[in-house]
Structure formats: structure tokens, C-alpha cells
């Protein structure tokens, strides 16, 4: 049986090549650990504190709000294109090849630099911790010591990642759990029992001049922390059942520019609760040799506003095996894609109606 997730992916022209082994918590944990409040705090707390004193805490709501708005925008796009690849994928569907390639290129290097930044941050916390455990020979202030620890970290995480996403996700989930415990629960404990500062500390700039330019400079800590929320979408192809997003084959009223003829069968993204039994998308750009389970009947709420043409394929919900053979209606190929080298995907036609305009 072709599972729903693979069918999802097929609609975007990709085969399911990665193993879907991650659950919802892993998906959350990956995004959370990429954002990772603690990492940013270790890396750039000093910068914030030495620029604006305690007042720098107010850069957080500003950055959080700004990034929330960016995230909202991306959320809508990823809802339409739930394919791994973040901004590259999203721009790929909406812009030219060159543009999306460069967006992806910059995003890729941003990711790599993030890896570097994070492994470079780890020594700042790890060396004092090792010293605290009785290993007194390490000097946390030495750039060379930091460098060695960072390179060891990099090698270890590389090996772990080669080993597989499942192991990494177990480690990551554990880390995230302790990060939440450490950063949030422990902070509450400190606040309740070891509170040395009044709330006035957040308005105490420690003598630094509070002005737009210092505020902007102090922002870098929160800027570094609050990004990477798109990471969950990067794992979209390794997560089982992405975000309540299931293709629903639905015969809907033809709308917009496809309204000219017959019925329009379109696989659309409906929230799973809205419609009946789960089922696959009716279209697939690539021939599939996998056996396919019988298709459930279309949701009863679907309707046609226009008469069906005689060869309409919609009501019977035909099986798909390859593009053409099992499809009762005609099958045609799209005009050559503007992406060189891509095979023209076969497109089942629903009677006289053109699915793709």
C-alpha cells in the first residue's frame, strides 16, 4: 500500500527516499534545538549585557514578534508545499530557477555557519562543566582549547548524523528535554528560591546609554536565538504524517481558471478532520509500481456544480498504476517544464476538463 505520506510527496515530483521515522515530538525537538535558547545565551549573552546592561532583555520581544510574523508567512507557504528544503523549496515553486538556487545556496551556508557557531559555543559551557567534574586542566578562556573541543564536537556529531536520523533524534529529544528542564524549570526554581535581583534589573542598563544604536547592537543575542523555526519543515520528508496535512481527493466545484469545462478533480489539502476516510491523492507525476489499495469513496460533501462530461473520471476514483493505464480518462503530458531535464509529468485529464489549466 502506498502510504499517504509517499503519495503526498509524489505529487511534488519526489520519491519517498528517506525513512519516515520521526514523530511529532522529534519534529518539534529539532526545531526547538535549532532555535535553542541556551545556545544563544551562552554565545552572545555577554554581547547583550555589555552593550545595554539588563535592558537588553527588551530586544527579545521585538525580535520574537518580528520572527513570528516571518514564521506566519512561511507557515502558509510550507502548508502549500510541505517538502523538505525550507526557503529553497518555497521559492522554487514561486520564482525562477536561478533565484531559488541562490536562496537555497545562501540558506545552505547559513546552516553550515550555524553548525560552526553552535559547536563553537559548546566549549563555553562544556569546559567549565568538565572542570567542575574534576578535570581542572582546561582553560575556558583559551581560544585554542575552545577550538579543540569544538572540533571534537563537530567530529562526533558528524559520525552520529551519518549513523542515522533515528539515533540523532533520540539524543536530540533527550537534549531538548533537559534543555527545557534546565532553562525553564531550573530558572523558575532559581527565581523562587535564589533570587538576588529585583525586577528592576531589566530596566538597569548598567550605565550604558540606551539609544536606538545600542539597542540594535544588543539585539544580536535574541537575533541569533530566534531563527531556525523552518527546521521542522526541513524534516518534512522524515516525519510521519506531517502536520495534519493529508491530501484529500476531492471533486470540487471548478474554480478560477479551470472552470471552463466539465468537472475538476483536484487533490487538495484539507485538514483531516474535515473530510472522511483518509485516502491518497489521485495524481502522481511518476509511475508507481507499488500496489495500491482500493480507494475510499469520495467525501460526500464534494459536489459538482457543472455537468460531468461523459468520460469524467471523478466519480469512480480510479486506481493509479503508472500514469496512464488504469486511468479511465485521457492522459496527457504537460508542456515541457521550465526546469531542464525534468520529465514531463503525465497528467490525467478529467474528461474534457484540464486539470492543469
Amino acid at each position: 500500500m502506498v502510504d499517504r505520506d509517499s503519495a503526498d510527496l509524489a505529487r511534488f515530483g519526489y520519491n519517498q527516499e528517506l525513512k519516515r521515522s520521526l514523530g511529532l515530538f522529534s519534529s518539534f525537538a529539532v526545531a526547538f534545538s535549532y532555535i535553542s535558547p541556551s545556545t544563544g545565551i551562552f554565545t552572545l549573552f555577554a554581547l547583550g549585557l555589555t552593550t545595554l546592561g539588563g535592558v537588553f532583555i527588551w530586544t527579545w520581544p521585538v525580535v520574537a514578534l518580528g520572527q513570528f510574523i516571518v514564521a506566519l508567512n512561511f507557515a502558509e507557504v510550507s502548508s502549500h508545499y510541505p517538502v523538505a528544503g525550507s526557503v529553497f523549496q518555497w521559492t522554487k515553486y514561486l520564482a525562477s530557477r536561478t533565484y531559488s538556487w541562490f536562496t537555497g545556496w545562501i540558506y545552505l551556508f547559513a546552516g553550515m555557519l550555524t553548525v560552526t557557531a553552535v559547536v563553537a559555543t559548546l566549549p563555553l559551557a562544556l569546559i567549565p562543566a568538565l572542570n567542575g567534574l574534576g578535570w581542572h586542566s582546561l582553560n575556558a578562556a583559551s581560544l585554542n582549547t575552545q577550538l579543540v573541543v569544538a572540533l571534537i564536537t563537530l567530529a562526533v556529531i558528524t559520525v552520529l548524523n551519518i549513523y542515522g536520523v533515528k539515533l540523532v533524534s533520540v539524543i536530540n529529544n533527550t537534549g531538548v528535554l533537559f534543555e527545557i528542564l534546565g532553562m525553564f524549570v531550573f530558572a523558575l526554581v532559581l527565581m523562587a528560591f535564589h533570587n538576588h535581583q529585583g525586577f528592576g534589573v531589566v530596566t538597569n542598563s548598567a550605565g550604558f546609554h540606551v539609544a536606538p544604536n545600542t539597542f540594535l547592537a544588543a539585539m544580536f543575542m535574541s537575533l541569533f536565538v530566534i531563527y531556525g523555526f523552518d527546521t521542522a519543515s526541513t524534516l518534512a520528508e522524515e516525519t510521519a504524517t506531517r502536520g495534519g496535512r493529508h491530501p484529500r481527493p476531492c471533486c470540487s466545484r471548478s474554480s478560477g481558471r479551470s472552470s471552463s469545462a466539465g468537472c475538476s478533480c483536484s487533490a487538495r489539502w484539507w485538514p483531516s478532520r474535515t473530510w472522511g476516510p483518509r485516502s491518497r491523492a489521485p495524481t502522481g507525476p511518476r509511475p508507481s509500481s507499488r500496489p495500491i489499495s482500493p480507494r475510499p469513496s469520495p467525501p460526500s460533501t464534494c459536489s459538482w456544480s457543472q455537468p460531468l462530461s461523459s468520460s469524467a473520471a471523478c466519480p469512480s476514483w480510479p486506481r493509479r498504476s503508472g500514469c496512464a493505464s488504469a486511468w479511465p480518462a485521457t492522459t496527457s503530458c504537460r508542456p515541457p517544464s521550465r526546469w531542464p531535464g525534468s520529465p514531463p509529468p503525465c497528467t490525467p485529464r478529467c474528461g474534457a476538463a484540464s486539470w492543469w489549466r
Binding site: 541562490f102 545556496w105 546552516g111
Partner: protein, 151 residues
Amino acid sequence: MVAVIAAIPFIQYSGAAIIAIAATGMIYLSYFLGNIVILRARLRGWPKAKAPFRLGRWGLLVNIVALLYGGAMLVNFAWPRVASNPKPSQTAGLLKLGFLDGIPILWTVVIFIVIIGALYFAIAGRAKTFAPVTAPSPEDDDPLPAAAPPA
């Protein structure tokens, strides 16, 4: 491969802060590029298909605010200042990049990566095939003219 490239900044290691800021700046740049395209698509009527998450008529406003915020932060990243974007000559010898010593470090990083990308794209990338772009649903098949805005 990623690990090897990620290790390159360690050749001239100057502490985590600069790398962290460079990474953030690059992310903001890619988000900004993404948001530009989404705005352009919105102005042309995207999204037409339904999706589980939709902003509806707020989409345009959200998109514009996201661009304004992202743009403002990009200016903030690019701003030459010792605390966040020092010239190598201002780092008391931590960074030495020869003739680039007078240029703020983040400018160097971004320009370097874009030039490498342009070379790679010109030599190898253009011939490579993307996975076929198949529209997920009829209304989402919204092929925009292949006019390439400056990357």
C-alpha cells in the same frame, strides 16, 4: 562534507560570537529572499488553493511586515560596528585577512559565499536538474514568468 565546510571558519577562529552573527545574518538574508518571492506571488494572486494553514486577507500585510522587519534587521547586520560586524583590523589581531582587513567581516563572508555560489552555479549548477517541479494542485500550479530578480 558539511562538517568540513563548517570547520573552515575555525582556520581563523576568533570566538563563537562572530560566527553566530554571520550565521544569523545569512539566515535573515535567505528568509528575506524567500519573503520577497512570496510577496511577489501574493501580488499575483497566490495562494489560490486551500491549505490547512492560511492567512487569508492578512497574508499581504503579514508578508509586508515580515519584509520590513527582515530588511531592517539586514541593515542592522550589515552595519559596520565593532561589537557585531568588526573589520578584521579592529579585532586586535584575532582575524587577519590581508587585503580584506579594512572591510567589515560580514560583508566579506556574504560576498565570498555569493561569489563561490555564482561560480559553482555557472560551472555545474546550471546543468543540474532539479527534481521536477510539479504543482501540488491545479490552483497552486501558478507558474510565474521566469523573470529572475537579482539574487
